[in-house]
Symmetry: C2
Subunit: 109 residues, 2 copies
């Protein structure tokens, strides 16, 4: 049917998948790296840095914002984006727990 059955899964499974899906795109990874490396924030510089149209960058920023991974502050004519620390920590926690739940082989198929 083309519709994910979210009601079947746990809150945490859905929560982690939403956060990961927001990051799981090379353009959004590049945007986040740019935001992080610029220490503070950026805005339309991203359009120049990456080779994508302004509308496309804006859309990616919106998705990252919807997922709560970044936040945008209006600064005059520009908009300054930066990481949302709370969500970043949450993601680190959720994904860390998930990854650490697997402890090596010691016998498999």
């Amino acid at each position: 049917m083309g519709l994910t059955k979210t009601e079947i899964f746990t809150f945490e499974q859905n929560q982690l998948s939403v956060l990961l899906k927001a990051i799981a795109h090379p353009a959004r990874i590049a945007i986040l790296q740019q935001i992080i490396s610029a220490n503070a924030c950026i805005c339309g510089d991203l359009v120049e840095e990456l080779g994508l149209a302004q509308a496309t960058i804006s859309q990616h920023l919106k998705e990252l914002k919807n997922a709560g991974i970044i936040q945008g502050a209006i600064d005059g004519v520009k908009v300054c984006y930066c990481i949302e620390p709370k969500t970043w920590k949450l993601l680190d926690q959720l994904f860390g727990d998930f990854m650490r739940s697997y402890v090596d082989p010691k016998g498999c198929c």
Copy 2:
């Protein structure tokens, strides 16, 4: 156009996004958790555990396999799936580096 411009991004950006995209679905997270908790491997048990059709589970397994996150070994009539340790480590490394590149606020917008 609806086609991700992979040629614009670095190998690592694309690599990480492929791995994350494979995991960024609640059903696939549930499948991985099931595989991990069963220590060894599983196969069609997943169809019973999760509430999805056999064709759907098989498709999700295929995607996880294509990304290199799991491997399947034929065991008679059944197929035994388990985590691919190398890819798991790679993901842990790539994502860990990515997450750690952000070091708290100390002044933002």
